[in-house]
Subunit: 149 residues, 4 copies
């Protein structure tokens, strides 16, 4: 359940479906975040640092950190449902454990409980600078499975 | 403690200090969010809707909603400390109670407990469309008072 | 939405159903907590202080405070569903804002969003001593509506 | 960071100090919970099931589950501070992921970020029945280091 946990690949059609959903998120494009890894119950979103992301303390704004964490958790849960289902992350809690800085942030969503109705994802965000890697945020998200309209 | 609660104005120098801090947040500018009301222990941030803010469900992305909620809560707490102190919101929990849509979002941060070390802000976000006003997110944030470096 | 908010009474059969459910909670009896007010979307649970409730800091243990807060929030949501439905509080977040002490604690659960599937309750706990009344905990809970088995 | 993570023993004097603090918690005694493992940044609390612990759904009440989770997280953080310091868990978030049942609950607190002022513990509770072991709750707690009065 941490960033060194092993994870299973998804089928090509699942990955394609996930990536298409991701592309529909204008906010991720606007922030400059890209979907990196798509695995079974696990997704990585990478957010390169940039002047447009800072808060008044000079680091990456907690709002940007939250946005990629929330997205990683929701897409991780999306890998575990079929093409006729969707998942909606309707609440989360997040702790900021260090200033968000580095060449880029890596947000990792990992499903820790996949239920028929409700699922729970763990959210972790690392600030990465070369070989330096530091936990900058950690959280927990609850998601509801819904039928695709 | 809801959006109809009365609130007290702040002194002009406090408002100026708060607005200067707000201006240093590049992310808020990048999203298009503006600081509207600055009162004692209460701040409103307005985020006009826009194509750049959407998630894959077509509404405003929870990450954008979170970003303005988190900011409103932190700046609300900032109105209650002196010029030599700063506050850092280090964790929050948020529920998304309706799809975030409307002409604009109004994020309201209200300090419900102001402590010497720790404070708690309530976070509420409304989707506003003309006279229609709907709660789209509600949360709770904890903040740490620190000395200005 | 605070302890001074007005609230509507429930029908006698609803109150009876709610009180019967409450009686089935052995833990509440074991702690000494009683169901006081049952209103539309709002429930008060009172926990008299006692030696059996203390934590290692000498105040009422946060676990006891949480237990009555969680119960008040769940039963508040229960007042808003029909006799064939049940609600399950499946997550909450709580802040302890002051040492839990006093003659008794009063836990107030208030539904702030009643949905078809998911509801959200606000949780507030006051430490009461004669006319002195202090917020000792505040939180937010999410609940799932389920069919009675 | 899960229940199979390796962990380091603590010195005998640390363990004694931790166990003495634990003994001062009347609520844990009243519920029947005992402190099992005390390791570096990690504590296990065991709560045997019993009729006095049930909620109205017939399982162990979420309030009892929360009480042992909160305690495990706080005592885990206590293992990492010196004898002149204390820690206070001032907020947490918890998800109930399965009905709390079994011969006993095992609550595991693990410090995932130990700071000078603020720390974060992961909370996990398992329902255990013979060789069957199931995650019934998972959460995250923030703690403040304070000087022993």
């Amino acid at each position: 359940m941490n960033d060194a946990s092993p994870y299973e690949p998804v089928d090509a059609d699942v990955e394609e479906r996930i990536r298409k959903s991701y592309e529909r998120q204008a906010l991720m494009r606007h922030l400059g975040a890209r979907l990196e890894l798509v695995a079974q119950g696990r997704v990585h979103v990478v957010l390169p640092g940039g002047e447009h992301l800072t808060g008044h303390h000079g680091h990456i704004h907690p709002g940007a950190t939250s946005a990629v964490a929330d997205t990683a958790g929701e897409f991780a849960a999306l890998t575990l449902v079929g093409p006729r289902d969707d998942v909606v992350g309707f609440e989360y809690k997040i702790n900021f454990t260090a200033p968000a800085e580095g060449d880029h942030l890596e947000a990792i969503g990992t499903v820790i409980r996949a239920g028929r109705t409700l699922s729970v994802s763990r959210l972790e965000v690392f600030g990465v600078d070369g070989s330096r890697r530091r936990l900058v945020a950690t959280g927990q998200q609850t998601l509801l499975r819904v039928a695709v309209p």
